[in-house]
């Protein structure tokens, strides 16, 4: 399965969930779904906005974990 390491990257950048939500124009609820790995899919536009806001590569956020 694909796992999102958003919380780790956010911690490294020292950015809170509310602040990130404000920067990428996404609701706190949706960002929470991403952070808790409950999302089924992620749009390229969302990924682009997160990478831009956190100044990172998609590979730093996404990780493949064998089931």
């Amino acid at each position: 399965m694909i796992k999102l390491n958003l919380d780790r990257v956010m911690q490294e950048r020292g950015i809170s969930l509310t602040e990130l939500a404000g920067r990428i124009d996404i609701t706190l609820a949706n960002l929470s779904i991403l952070k808790t790995n409950k999302a089924r899919a992620i749009r390229f536009t969302t990924l682009d906005a997160i990478c831009r806001a956190l100044q990172c590569q998609p590979g730093e956020i996404l990780e493949f974990v064998a089931d």
């Binding site: 999302a39 089924r40 992620i42 969302t46």
Partner: protein, 235 residues
């Protein structure tokens, strides 16, 4: 976000609420009639009343005769006439077989309108694609199919009782030639099973096919729910 629901679901919800209430009331009235079991007062006379049948003059006459009643109906200026002796018994047959048929129909319609009311309530709330709506559509389809069988059976029974009575008590006269009613609603005919309308087979009824269509639509709704869930979890 702009509202996705219009006024139509609200109108339909109210229409179905009123219709469900009316049908429930009608079912109650029929129940009372069955329990009271009213009888025609002795000496009741109806007609002779003149009317119009397929654009031609017709008449009906219901009068007392020998402690019972006789019924005479004519059509096409008297070319075709129907005479039923002991017609009081016909009314009893209609009462004992017809009223339960009407009761079942009313109960069915009440259930149908109640399901439609709930369905349009969900649609009005913008909850067209959720598990509850799918369940309602499935129940609606199932109800239509079950009642198509039930109604065909009871209507067939009613038709059989009336036709049997007619075969024993009615004479049709066409241009002066008397013809006796065919025996029974369901009887073995020379060319196979002879069955008039109300034959107990639901497969030709629109209700049966409507039920199948609604069940097919419920599957569309179920897939819609799955797509909606998928979409909701796409960020």
């Amino acid at each position: 976000m702009a509202s996705v629901t219009g006024t139509l679901p609200t109108i339909f919800r109210w229409v179905f609420t009123v219709l469900a209430a009316l049908c429930a009331f009608a079912a109650f009235v029929v129940c009372v009639a069955i329990l009271i079991n009213p009888h025609l007062p002795a000496g009741t006379t109806i007609g002779p009343a003149e009317g119009d049948f397929m654009g031609q003059p017709s008449s009906i006459d219901f009068h007392p005769a020998g402690g019972d009643f006789n019924l005479t109906a004519t059509a096409f200026r008297g070319t075709i006439s129907l005479f039923v002796r002991q017609a009081g018994g016909l009314i009893e047959v209609i009462k004992h077989y017809g009223l339960p048929v009407i009761l079942i129909q009313m109960v069915f319609l009440t259930a149908l309108f109640e399901l439609l009311r709930r369905l349009f309530r969900n649609v009005g709330r913008g909850e067209s694609f959720n598990q509850g709506t799918v369940r309602l559509v499935q129940i609606l389809g199932g109800t239509l199919i079950v009642f198509s069988f039930v109604l065909s059976a009871v209507e067939g029974l009613f038709a059989m009782a009336v036709f049997t009575y007619f075969s024993q008590h009615a004479v049709i006269t066409i241009s002066g030639a008397p013809i006796h009613w065919p025996a029974g609603a369901m009887s073995w005919h020379r060319h196979g099973l002879y069955m008039p309308r109300g034959d107990g087979f639901p497969f030709g009824s629109p209700m049966f096919f409507s039920g199948l269509l609604v069940l097919a639509l419920s599957e569309v709704f179920r897939q819609g729910v799955a797509l909606k869930k998928e979409n909701e979890l796409t960020i």
